[in-house]
């Protein structure tokens, strides 16, 4: 019998060595072992007491649903409790998680808005998050509306110090940019990709023009073409309820989900000739090149390889 490598299981060091979000800590039940899939591998986690967490590769000695803690011989996985999520790594994390300075500002609302399962690859979800051209067609009447379809040129650069991808000077006409909007306006965006599977977007707060609201998309890659996407908000908003703000973000993501699940191939092709980019796709073009340069091969079709 020939033992075949399971293509679902990630062997790509560039991805394994990263921190990956597991679940929102607000939804972890104390004293019960839970299990999920990360990069094609089963991972168990447990909160032994409030704010104390452990995670390990699933082991029959610590069954799901029990309170049994892994024995001292079980190799634990590294843990981070950051931005409202439990993070882990299946490799050797090369440093700390990216910083979001806004998160710690005292007057901000930090909200876990949604966790949504999508049958797509993590890079397809990130690329969709960076994209403005789809607003009038996918988020009609909210983030965009015909005939205001033009994507004016914006700047994209890779920050030399942090090796993060930034798209700046992005402008788009939006009928209802946020839950707090009352009228259509040209909205300025800044996008930041600090991690192959995580992105942040900064947009002017409708309630305080001098400050930026932050929306984050942290993707857990379940397998190469399946994800659970976490949405996090860090807002200047002292009037709306959490559930109102969450419902707005969830309805936006629910509009993206059927698009993401109808892209073929599901893995993001990194070859520039696999799809047809246009000027307004500068951030996507840069993102694909950046993934190539980082050596990412999981969730993508690497350059020089066809879809078969």
């Amino acid at each position: 019998m020939k033992l075949l490598a399971n293509p679902e299981v990630c062997t790509n060091a560039a991805i394994l060595d990263l921190w990956h979000p597991l679940v929102p800590t607000s939804e972890i039940q104390v004293g019960v072992v839970r299990e999920l899939s990360l990069l094609g591998q089963a991972v168990s986690y447990l909160s032994t007491s409030p704010d104390i967490y452990r995670a390990w590769r699933t082991d029959p000695a610590t069954p799901v649903g029990t309170a049994s803690e892994p024995s001292s011989v079980t190799e634990g996985l590294p843990i981070l409790d950051r931005y409202g999520y439990l993070w882990t790594s299946l490799g050797v994390p090369n440093g700390d998680l990216f910083d979001i300075p806004e998160y710690d500002e005292p007057d901000r609302r930090n909200i876990h808005a949604a966790t949504i399962g999508v049958h797509c690859s993590a890079p397809r979800a990130i690329e969709n998050f960076l994209d403005m051209g789809h607003f009038p067609y996918v988020h009609t009447g909210v983030l965009g509306i015909e005939p205001h379809t033009e994507v004016v040129d914006y700047d994209v650069q890779i920050d030399a110090d942090s090796n993060e991808l930034w798209a700046t000077q992005c402008l788009f006409f939006q009928p209802m940019a946020a839950a707090t909007s009352t009228a259509g306006e040209m909205v300025g965006y800044t996008y930041r990709v600090p991690h192959p599977y995580c992105s942040l977007l900064y947009k002017t707060s409708p309630l305080d023009e001098s400050r930026m609201d932050v929306i984050g998309l942290f993707v857990r890659s379940v397998g190469p073409d399946r994800i659970e996407a976490h949405m996090i908000l860090s807002l200047i908003d002292d009037s709306n309820t959490d559930s109102f703000i969450r419902r707005f973000q969830q309805s936006i993501f629910a509009q993206d989900k059927p698009i993401l699940e109808n892209q073929n191939p599901k893995l993001l092709p990194l070859d520039p000739r696999a799809e047809t980019p246009i000027r307004s796709d500068r951030s996507a073009i840069a993102y694909r090149r950046w993934l190539s340069d980082l050596g990412v091969t999981y969730g993508v079709i690497p350059e020089g390889r066809s879809n078969d």
């Binding site: 690329e127 067609y137 246009i278 879809n307």
Partner: protein, 585 residues
């Protein structure tokens, strides 16, 4: 085996799967297909993915002429599958290379036939020719083609639909994907032909066609009978397939997008790549003939509203004419040609010499007058025969349900070209007949009374009218980028007396442009083939980016602010004020 299946025609849908405006998702040999019927009844079979980001086109929308992708609103034309519009860049004409992969289609026996690379024609079955056929409910089976065919060979059925009265059945033929069975009972005969569609290695669709079509209650009974018998067959086949070897899914290769060739390697200047036949020629207005051109080879490439073609005339002249029809409207180009009083032989040749049935050489369409489809309102202003590109735009705006007006200035109503199209456009058309130059200026002043945001103006007509429009618009503070002009010809007197030097940055070549020669000619003489069309500074085809030096603009294509910026030059007429120009070629 797959290799030979690639060269056969297969049924991929029932004709009734394709009501107008619906996009059907099909699959053949592992490849997903988007199948849709246009308003002219042409059945489009396209690879089911948008070239931009791979989104399934079957979740998009059809307006009967174009298919719109649901993700970014890219539009693809009926028949050619060429991209006609990219909403993120409304001012730009999409590159002609952006064209979806298409597969041939034929409708036969109530089925839509297609294939990867089919040869010849779909099968002709004698029993189904000239017969009142009845299409059975199609049955999808999770089993390979051969297994399904093997079981179908033993299929038994009743002629009347009575399950207790199964007839004696004989096989008429069987090939790699289909078989025919004839049942005889009490002297009556009925033939069923089964075509099996290979969806994937382990998935097939049985599409049965009956050679006779019973009426009334018997029809329903017959359909139910076959549905029940085939469902039973499916259950048996699927169980057997579960025990069979597991098959790898078929992989349909997605073609890479073509490389956009750098300008320098583009084949030379005025190329007449297409051959067309004059399908129809008629007098559409006083001194204007309409011409409908149909391809005699490959289907005509997609055109966009505002596009023009070069027509290579039998007398050796080359003339540019705008296409008047909207994209997606059949595979033909429609032109309107006015007989010019001072014709140097171009319009006279088309009026007098060219006849229906004649073959002409034309270029592929080029679009230097692209239509934005993101304006809140669009005003089209036509003077005389200048209506031609604006008619294509008006029909496109109408099809897309966008707000527009077409103002048509003409001498009399006898001078109105394509009155049938104007009738169709209805109230959006405003006629201005028999106005003097002063009255025309007054009407234009009223039309351009105040610039409004997100409003765009497109003007085409005789030189003096365009100059008047330019002046009036500028006095009314319209921004240059909101007013779009199409000149018939350059109204500026071209001075070619200067001499200067051009350096080609990318080719590391320096050339001398002597007086009496154009930059374009000097480049051609040195083996650098730029695209060109009108060669008189009106169409914008031979544009090149200026890196250094001060151009002396002599064209009417660039607007004033573009000329002032000095970053682009029309190489067919414009020259240099500085001793040297550095060009980006």
């Amino acid at each position: 085996m797959t290799e030979s299946l690639m060269n056969l025609w297969h049924p991929i849908a029932s004709a009734e799967d394709l009501p107008y405006r619906h996009i059907f998702q099909g699959q053949l040999l592992g490849r997903e297909l988007a199948v849709w019927r246009a308003d002219d009844d042409f059945v489009n079979v396209w690879e089911n993915r948008c070239l931009h980001r791979g989104t399934r086109l079957s979740i998009g929308r059809s307006d009967g002429l174009e298919l719109r992708c649901q993700y970014h609103g890219w539009r693809y034309a009926n028949r050619s599958a060429g991209c006609t519009y990219i909403p993120a860049h409304p001012a730009d004409a999409p590159a002609r290379t952006i064209c979806n992969r298409t597969f041939p289609s034929v409708e036969r026996y109530g089925l839509i036939w297609s294939g990867e690379e089919p040869t010849g024609e779909p099968p002709e079955i004698a029993a189904l020719e000239n017969a009142e056929t009845l299409l059975l409910r199609n049955i999808a089976v999770n089993a390979p083609l051969n297994l399904v065919l093997g079981h179908l060979a033993n299929y038994r059925f009743s002629i009347t639909g009575d399950p207790d009265n199964l007839a004696t059945t004989s096989m008429d033929y069987q090939d790699g994907c289909s078989l025919s069975l004839t049942a005889t009972c009490d002297g009556k005969k009925s033939t069923v032909v089964f075509f099996v569609q290979p969806v994937d290695s382990n998935r097939s669709v049985i599409r049965g066609v009956l050679s006779n079509s019973p009426e009334g209650a018997e029809r329903l009974l017959t359909l139910r009978h076959h549905s029940a018998e085939l469902s039973r067959l499916r259950d048996i086949v699927e169980l057997e397939a579960l025990d069979g070897p597991s098959l790898e899914p078929m992989v349909a290769t997605i073609e890479q997008v073509p490389i956009a060739l750098p300008e320098i390697t583009t084949p030379s200047g005025r190329k007449a790549a297409l051959r067309v036949q004059v399908l129809r020629k008629w007098a559409t207005a006083e001194g204007v003939v309409g011409l409908e051109l149909e391809s005699i080879g490959e289907p005509l490439p997609t055109h966009q509203p505002g596009a023009h073609i070069d027509v290579h005339l039998p007398n050796g002249l080359v003339r540019q004419y705008s296409l008047t029809n909207a994209p997606g409207e059949g595979s033909l180009y429609r032109l309107g040609v006015k007989l010019e009083a001072d014709s140097r032989g171009g319009s006279a040749c088309l009026h007098e010499t060219v006849k229906e049935g004649d073959v002409l050489a034309i270029s592929e369409p080029r679009n230097n007058f692209p239509l934005r489809r993101d304006a809140v309102k669009t005003i089209l202003i036509a003077g005389g025969i200048g209506v031609t590109p604006l008619l294509s735009m008006a029909q496109t705006l109408r099809n897309n349900k966008l707000d527009y007006e077409l103002h048509y200035f003409a001498q009399t109503d006898g001078h109105l070209a394509f009155p049938e199209v104007l009738n169709e456009l209805g109230e959006a058309v405003v006629l201005h007949l028999g106005l003097s130059p002063d009255e025309t200026s007054q009407a234009l002043t009223a039309l351009l009374a105040g610039p409004q945001p997100a409003m765009h103006i497109y003007v085409c007509g005789p030189g003096p009218m365009l100059e008047a429009t330019r002046r009036i618009a500028s006095e009314a503070d319209w921004p240059d980028e909101a007013i779009h002009f199409e000149y018939f010809k350059n109204t500026i007197e071209v001075d070619s007396s200067s001499s200067f030097e051009v350096s080609l940055a990318r080719s590391a070549l320096t050339l001398e442009v002597p007086s009496g020669k154009t930059i374009l000619e000097v480049l051609r003489d040195n083996g650098i083939a730029l695209m060109s069309s009108c060669e008189q500074g009106a169409c914008g085809t031979c544009e090149v980016t200026v890196i250094e030096g001060e151009p002396e603009h002599q064209d009417v294509y660039l607007n004033d602010s573009e000329k002032l910026a000095g970053q682009r030059i029309m190489t067919c007429v414009s020259r240099a004020k500085s001793p040297r120009l550095v060009l980006d070629i």
